[in-house]
Amino acid sequence: MGSNLSSKNNMNTLIGNTLRIGVFAACIIALLGGIWYIASSAGSSLPDYTTFHQGDASYTTVEGIFKSVFALSATGWIQLGVIVLMLTPVMRVVLSLVDFGIQRDWLYVIITGIVLLVIIVNSLVGVG
């Protein structure tokens, strides 16, 4: 029981830290990209946000975003921050899956697996 309790506390600390670090990292990355975006925007006018335009691949696909990040594009870095933010809750689900595995709770390993599967399949085929 004692070791069970301490492993539970360890997992909670790990999950708490993951969430904190994820949100913090996402914020810093987006902020860096954002400051850069403003600094390099001098003279250019605001994009037309009043009507919707089909997005450019450089910030709508993972491949495009990583290319923009390596090309040091400001919008690429902002989107990298968005991706890190999106990965934060996903990481929490992954950690819960590991936690249920450690507890040998196979029913919840399956249930958590289904949730992860829906997210992954949706990100692959749900483009529409």
Binding site: T50, F52, A74, T88, V93, V115, G126
Partner: protein, 287 residues
């Protein structure tokens, strides 16, 4: 919309700072009132800034994930969240979110705006509801088989255990909550609490924190689609993410020293006006 800020004549730097300030207020109010950032971001962007609804949905998703993960890191320590319950119901919400994000493709924006207004009305109604904490609920067999019963620490240091019931009812409401979340980009926290609280008789503290855990996961399920559709626009996403997070953090600090009951009532009236405005603008086809 005559009351819109004229964003098309604005420089990028001014637009970003106005949006940053607006997002800070949205995060602050969302955290003080318990509504979350997403619900406030959509009217802020569409009604006040005149930004297209699609971009507003993308921004609201970013805001929902940020506030959910931000406050979850504090909730984990308190041991109130029922992870099994959240994970089991997350199957319903993530499938719902997939359906909602698919429906958003063909649904006219004005209809989406009217649905959003209706969800806001429900939110207001829930703010004035009497909160009853269920004690001595006799759990159902299915809930027991799914190991959904739990316990949470109380203020006086004892551990309160609880049972819950009506799993299928809660599960069905969660599909709807997920669909609305996928369609509107909001966390649908109101429906999530409604499903756990009213249907399944989960204690209020547990349903609030478990709903917060679920909001982030549900929002990500639809965000992976919306990012690829171009709804998440970098120039809007960055001030929203930074502003809402900073606002939510100040809100969490203020909440400890502030009696927010009056604020919540005032805010409920404001949300009511926004809801009617959304529905009206949707009906006359402004979006």
């Amino acid at each position: 919309m005559y009351f819109c800020i004229k964003i098309f004549s604005m420089s990028i730097i001014l637009f970003t700072f106005l949006l940053l300030f607006g997002a800070y207020c949205a995060g602050l109010l969302g955290s003080l009132t318990g509504l979350g950032g997403g619900v406030i971001v959509i009217p802020l962007l569409t009604l006040a800034f005149g930004i297209d609804f699609h971009y507003a949905i993308g921004a609201a998703l970013v805001a929902s994930i940020a506030t959910s993960s931000g406050s979850a890191s504090a909730y984990v320590k308190e041991g109130l969240t029922n992870i099994r319950l959240g994970m089991f119901l997350e199957i319903a919400t993530s499938v719902g979110a997939v359906l909602g994000a698919a429906a958003a493709l063909w649904m006219p924006t004005n209809v989406i705006a009217i649905i959003f207004g209706a969800v806001l009305l429900l939110t207001v109604a829930m703010q004035f509801r009497q909160k009853t904490d269920y004690i001595g609920v006799k759990g159902s067999n299915l809930a027991k088989k799914l190991k959904l019963f739990g316990s949470y620490p109380t203020k006086d240091g004892t551990v309160q255990s609880y049972e819950l019931t009506n799993v299928s009812g809660g599960f069905s409401v969660m599909v709807l909550a997920g669909a609305l979340s996928g369609l509107l980009g909001i966390g649908s926290g109101v429906l999530k609490v409604l499903a756990m609280d009213s249907c399944m008789k989960v204690p209020f503290k547990v349903s609030t924190t478990t709903s917060n855990f679920m909001i982030g996961v549900t929002a990500v399920t639809s965000a992976v689609v919306y990012l690829q559709r171009g709804y998440i626009e970098p120039g809007i996403a960055f001030p929203i993410m930074v502003g809402v997070l900073a606002g939510a953090m100040s809100g969490a600090k203020l909440l400890k020293h502030l009696d927010v009951r009056v604020l919540r009532k005032i805010f409920a009236v404001a949300i009511l006006l926004v809801a009617l405005n959304m529905i009206y603008n949707g009906i006359i086809g402004k979006f």
